[in-house]
């Protein structure tokens, strides 16, 4: 089986979710070719070999420095053809998922997004997808010769399995129509751990009583190298930016550890966190519904518990 993996980068560095896509492809067995588009750090590209890529293609076209959905889909479809790839694997990011759709339509591939574990190939090709916003799974047969698979965070564990490989330049001639969408500017949190990529997430709700109290939550997050998140009311009230809103209609996270502070646990919030491995709930209301979905709970005042927890974590390091 020949597998092509689309890897995304941010500020030149390969995203962790894309490393998981390489690890996933490696786990499938067969030959693994990674492909990166636009400016990407050369050392980072070569290092993809360590995680399971046998070949790395780089399209160093500056027009691709920005993630334009149509152009990216054209490049990846052509690369699937040129590399005789049976499967395209990518991380289900805000860019990866829309791109996967167009690649599948172009190549006639069977398409599955939100895939949570390696395919079962004992009889055919069956993937397990997360559905109903994490409340259930579906096992789906992908029957076409070509397949496009978008994986959910934590579908594969990143491990060093090889050594760096040299990068092969690759180019595709693109049409003007591929650039019909023009990206004029972007704003992005820098220097922080990004919420969809984080292994640990510390989230605050209305119980934090106001944006001015976030520093104690940020101290905890910083100590854990965690990303910060929030509930829908907090983002609706403008206490925190929308990209931190975790929930049914916000970001769905799947970290190793999710710590919820002053969040009651409305179903719409739980839908965004139910793929977390371990959930800690800190709330002063012992009847908060979130405790039912938690692994560990503390009934207590956030303003007393948080500084103590931060101190205890620092002491345990």
């Amino acid at each position: 089986m020949a597998i092509l993996v689309f890897v995304e980068s941010a500020e030149g560095k390969i995203k962790k979710t894309s490393l998981e896509a390489v690890a996933y492809a490696h786990g499938m067995g067969g030959s693994v070719t990674a492909i990166a588009l636009g400016a990407t750090d050369a050392v980072e590209l070569e290092a993809l070999g360590k995680y399971g890529a046998q070949k790395v293609l780089h399209v160093a076209d500056e027009k691709l420095n920005q993630g334009i959905i149509q152009a990216y889909a054209s490049v990846l479809s052509k690369a699937m053809q040129d590399e005789n790839a049976d499967v395209l694997v990518l991380a289900g990011s805000t860019l990866g998922t829309p791109v996967a759709a167009r690649v599948a339509a172009k190549t006639g591939a069977s398409l599955a997004s939100n895939v949570v574990e390696l395919p079962d190939t004992s009889s055919g090709f069956v993937v397990k997808r997360s559905i109903y916003t994490g409340k259930a799974f579906a096992r789906v047969e992908l029957n076409n010769a070509k397949k496009v698979i978008g994986i959910k965070k934590n579908a594969a564990e990143v491990k060093e399995v090889g050594s760096p490989v040299s990068t092969t330049p690759y180019s595709v001639s693109l049409a003007d129509a591929d650039f019909a969408t023009r990206i004029t500017s972007s704003e992005k949190a820098t220097g922080e751990v990004l919420l969809p990529e984080a292994n640990i997430v510390v989230s605050g709700g209305r119980g934090m009583k106001g944006p001015e109290h976030w520093p104690i939550l940020e101290d905890l997050a910083h100590t854990l190298h965690a990303a910060t998140g929030c509930s829908k009311p907090v983002s609706d009230m403008g206490w925190r930016p929308h990209h931190e809103h975790v929930g049914q209609t916000g970001v769905k996270v799947a970290p190793q550890l999710y710590i919820a502070i002053g969040i009651s646990g409305a179903i719409q919030h739980l839908a965004g966190v139910n793929s977390s491995k371990c959930i800690v709930v800190i709330n002063k209301d012992a009847d908060a519904p979130f405790f039912k979905a938690a692994d560990y709970g503390i009934v207590g005042d956030a303003f007393e518990v948080l500084p103590k927890l931060t101190a205890a974590l620092k002491a345990a390091k």
């Binding site: 829309p98 996967a100 939100n114 916003t133 409340k135 972007s186 550890l257 800690v280 692994d295």
Partner: protein, 245 residues
């Protein structure tokens, strides 16, 4: 200006999910169905555009007769007419093919839908439709402003947003805060009863995707409570028991 809004008919976000027939069918027992929350944002933005600069808004749903109350609700919110493609929406490619088939014959300037449905969560129908129609597709869209035949959009990216420009026509997968959800008023509800709702038969699709079965996640164990004055114990448990730090 002609706008198509594609809506899904999905279980309310608070629904408990169960399956029947040896885990091959969704169990609708006791479940309330709603317009997909992301689709509701798309619809609200379409109605805002209609109110501010004039447009006709058509809603389309791929579903069996049971989805008609959901479609009528979209008409009550302000859509002008509706199309129901009479089929069970089995997979993304099937649904996208029905949307593209309808859109090809109707020359829409704008095709809006939610970023994803909240049942199958695929998040790919906008991209499939865009590719099938040879139009740009953009998702997840948080802001959409029209200036003549150009649209200015904001798209969510990990940890931020990017701003884009694109000419009509195009396909967008929408999410908050593109518009505020609209609640139908009594006049809307009354007029929705007589608005046109066409039922068309689906186009056959060989999508290469087949559901084997559904599964529920394993039941969650009981929560372990820790005293507020003993946070050190929590740190120990996270380290040695859960092994997550």
């Amino acid at each position: 200006m002609k706008i198509l809004v594609c809506i899904t008919h999905v279980p309310d976000t608070t629904s408990k999910i169960n399956f029947t027939d040896n885990n091959t069918k969704f169990d609708p027992n006791g479940v309330q169905f709603i317009i997909g929350p992301y689709d509701d944002y798309a619809l609200a933005r379409a109605i805002e555009i209609k109110e501010s600069s004039g447009a006709t808004v058509t809603v389309l749903n791929v579903g069996l007769a049971e989805t008609e109350p959901t479609i009528r609700k979209a008409l009550a919110i302000g859509a002008d007419d509706a199309v129901r493609v009479n089929a069970d929406p089995t997979d993304s490619l099937f649904v996208a093919t029905q949307i593209a088939d309808h859109a090809k014959a109707n020359n829409y300037d704008l095709i809006l839908m939610g970023r994803e449905s909240i049942d199958y969560n695929s998040g790919v129908v906008h991209g499939l439709v865009g590719e099938m129609l040879g139009m740009p597709s953009i998702s997840p869209v948080m802001k959409l402003e029209l200036e003549g035949t150009t649209a200015k959009l904001a798209r969510e990216i990990e940890g931020g947003k990017e701003y884009l420009e694109v000419s009509l026509p195009f396909v967008a997968g929408c999410q908050e805060p593109i518009a505020e959800w609209k609640i139908p008023n009594m006049r809307g509800i009354m007029s929705a009863r007589t608005k046109p709702l066409a039922v068309v038969e689906p186009k056959a699709v060989d999508s290469g995707v087949k559901l084997q079965k559904f599964e529920l996640p394993p039941a969650k164990g009981a929560v372990k409570m820790i005293a507020a004055d003993n946070v050190a114990e929590l740190v120990t448990l996270l380290k040695n028991e859960a092994k997550v730090i």
